[in-house]
Amino acid sequence: MSLVMPAPDPATLAKRAEIVAALRAIVPGEGVIDDIESLRAYESDGLTAYRQPPMVCVLPETVEQVAAILRWCHGNRVKVVPRGAGTSLSGGALPLADGVLLGMARFNRVLDIDYADRVAVVQPGVTNLAITCAVEDAGFYYAPDPSSQIACTIGGNVAENSGGVHCLKYGLTTNNVLGVELVTMEGDVIRLGGRGLEPAGLDLLGVIVGSEGLLGVVTEVTVRILPRPQTAQALLIGFPSVESAGQCVADVIAAGIIPAGMEMMDRAAVHAAEDFVHAGYPLDVEALLIVELDGPVAECGHLSGEVERIALANGAVSVRASVDEAERIAFWAGRKAAFPAAGRLSPDYYCMDGTIPRRRLPHVLNRMNELSGQYGLGVINVFHAGDGNLHPLILYDANQPGQLEAAEAFGADILRLCVEVGGVLTGEHGVGVEKRDLMPVMFSEADLAQQQRVKCAFDPELLLNPGKVFPELHRCAELGRMHIHRGEVPFPDLPRF
C-alpha cells in the first residue's frame, strides 16, 4: 500500500495496558475492546484497500464518558480516531496502530422531534435513514440521502458533509444541520447553533461540518426536517452523445428548473447496470440521463413536459416518463446498482469523487478514456450531472500484482484533471487518507497552512484523527512562525516537515 501514515509512537504502544485500564475506568464492561480478534472488525472503513487495527477501541454511551476519554487522551498525548458506522469511502475512520478508536455507535437514540419548528434532535450514532423513518408518519423526511443511508450515521454525515443524489435542490449535510453538541480534544463540551437559523458569533458549526473528525467529537445533532413533496416523477432520457446530454443538463437549468435529482451514466455504466438489474435502460445510447422532479402534482406535470421538450431539442433518442411510483423506482434501480454492477465486471473497483464545471464534461470524459488506455484499466462513469460531481469507477484486480497501484495512480490522474479544469478533488466523499497527498494540487502551502491553523485552534496537540486530510503535519508552533509573503512561500524548493 502506497499510503504512509504517521509512524506509531513506541512509547504509546509500550503503555497500551495502562491506556486500556484508564479507558475501562471511564467506560465499564463491554465498552472497551482490546483483544486482537475483535479489533479486526474495526480495521478499515468503506475504503477497504487500507487496513490497520486500532490499538484499542472504546464505545462510550454518554457525553460525560466522551469528555473523560478525550480529556484523558489529551492529558496523556494519546491519539484518537472517531468512527460512526465506518462507511467512509475516503478512509476518514481508518484506525491508527497507536491510536484509540472512539466508536459512537451506542449514541443511537432520537432525542426529540419538533414538527412545529421542523427539527429533529438525535444522537450521532442514529443512521441517516432512521431519521426519516422517525418522522415519515407525520409526512416529513430528512433530505440528504447518501447512498449508504441505511447504514451511515448522522455523526459520520456531519464529519464528512455527506451529499447524495438530491443535493442540487436540497443541499448537503451542512445545509440541513442547525446545531451540534461537540466535545473538544481537551474535553470541553460546547453547543454550536441550535434551533435558530444563525449563531451569535462565528459560524463554527459551519467549519465542524465536513471537518472529517479532526476538530471535535459530535455527541448530538439537530437537523432540519422537511415536509415530503406531494409527488415525484422521473424521466429516463437517452442521448447519442455525452455532449448532447451535457447540453440538455445546462438547458434544463437555464430554463429555471432545479430538478430534485439529475444523474448521468455513460455507455459502459448503462450496459453494466442493465445486464445486472434489467431496469429497461436503452442500450443504443452513449449517455443516459435520469431527471427527477418533485413537488406538487401540477408542478411535476408541467416541468416533466418542459424537460422532455428540452431533451428532444437536444437530440434525445428516447424519453420515458415514469407513470407511477413503481416505475420511478425501477428507473433508479439501475443507477443505484451501478457500483455492484461494476463489481460484476471486475474483481475490484475504485470509486472516485471529483467535481468539475459541467461545461468541461466532454473534455474530461475524453481524457479519462485516454488514461484508461494508458493504464490498461477499464473505467465506467456515473455522474451527479446537476452539480458536476463525477464518480468514475476504475476496474481492477487486486490479485494481479501492480493493479491496485495502477488504479490508484489512474485515480490520482483523474483528480488532477478535475482540478486542472477548475474543479475539486472531492465533491462528497471527503479527503480522508485517500486524497490527502493530492491536497497540494488544489491548495497552495499558504492555503493549507491557514486550514491547519484552524485545526490548531481546536486541537493544538494534533491528537484528533491525525494523518487525515493534511499531507504534512506541521506542529502548531511552527505554523505560527511560518510567514508566506504575498502567497509565496519563502524558499519554495526547500523540503518542509
Partner: protein, 364 residues
Amino acid sequence: MLRPASIGDLCEVIAAGEKLRLRGGGTKDTVGAPCEAQVVDMRSFAGVIDYDPPELVLTVGAGTPLAEIEALVAGEGQMLAFDPFDHARMLGSEGAATIGGIIAAGVAGPARLSRGGVRDHLLGFTAVSGRGEKFVAGAKVVKNVTGYDLPKLMAGSWGRLAALTEVTLKVLPAPRTRRTLIRRGLDAAQAVAAMAYALGTAAEVTAAAHLPDWQGGAVTAIRLDGFTESIAARAAMLPEFEPAEDADALWTAVRDAAPLPLDRPLWRLIVAPGKAPGVISALPHAAWLFDWAGGLIWLATNADPAVIRTAAEAAGGHAMIFRADAAMRAAVPTLHPQPPALAALEARVRRAFDPNGVFETGRF
C-alpha cells in the same frame, strides 16, 4: 482611509500591524461599538470575474456593489437566493452595499427561511488574513468538500478574520411568479402556529412573517415562489389564507423592519421559532415583528439589554444590537456574549486568522 488597489498593496497594509476596520460601501458603519481603527476601503476589488449562468456559479470582486450583481444575475433570470439587501434604509446610512459587506454581515432577507443564508451560498473566496497573507478556500463549483469549509466562517464574521478580495457565490434560477397569502387578526402565538402549519405542508412556503400592526391590524403573511403552474395548486393547500394586495411593500417592510419606531434601539433576535411568542410576552412594552416564521424577531425597545438577552437565551437564541446611539453601542456589546468555553474557542479561531489582532478593533 486607505484604499489598496491590489492584493499586494492589501497584504502590505495588513502586515504593517495597525488596527484596521474593513469597509465596503459603509452602509453598516453604525453597527458595533464606535472605534478609532484605520478604515480600509475595499471597493477597488470590484468587477465580475466569471459568470456562466448554467453552472450556477458567479465569481466577483468582493468590493462589487450588490446592486450591480443583482442586475447582472436578474438579466439571466437568476438570483442570489439568500435574499440579500442593502441596510442603508434601515440604518439611515449613505452609500451602496458591496457583496463583501453583505457576506461579512451575513445579510439575508425573508427568503432565508427556506433558501438558506449567506453561509449556504458562499462557495469559495480569496482573502488576505490578519497575517498579511493571501489565501484561498472553498472552490468555484457548487459541490465541494475538499478541506475545511472556511467560507462558512467568513459569512457573518464582520471583518474579524480576513479581508475578502474575491468571492464565488452559488446563484439559482429566479422564481417566475410570487404570490403572497395572508391571515388577519392573529396574535403572536396564533401567528407562529399558523406559519408553522403552513411550513409543514407540501405548499413549499418561501417566506413567512407576522406584523402585529400593518395597515390597521395584525397581518400574518406567507409567500409562495415558483412556476405559475404550481402556485395555484400550492395556494389551494392553504385555504385558511387569503390573497394579499400590495405584497411587495409588505415584504420590504418586513425586511427593513420599517414599521418599528426609530426613536429607540433596534435589536435582532434569532430564536427557536416556536419560542418567539414567549420572548414578546417577556418584553411587554417593545414594538416588534416576526420574520422567518418567528425565528427572527426585530425588536424596538428601551428595555434593559440584560432582560432582552435573558429572554433570547430562554428562547434558545441570542440578541444583537442592530441600531442604537453611539453611547449605548459603546457601553453594551453588540453581539450576544457567548458561554466561556465557546468564547475561548472562538477567540482561538480568530487568532488562527489574525494572530496580532489587526482586525480586533473593539467594534465587536
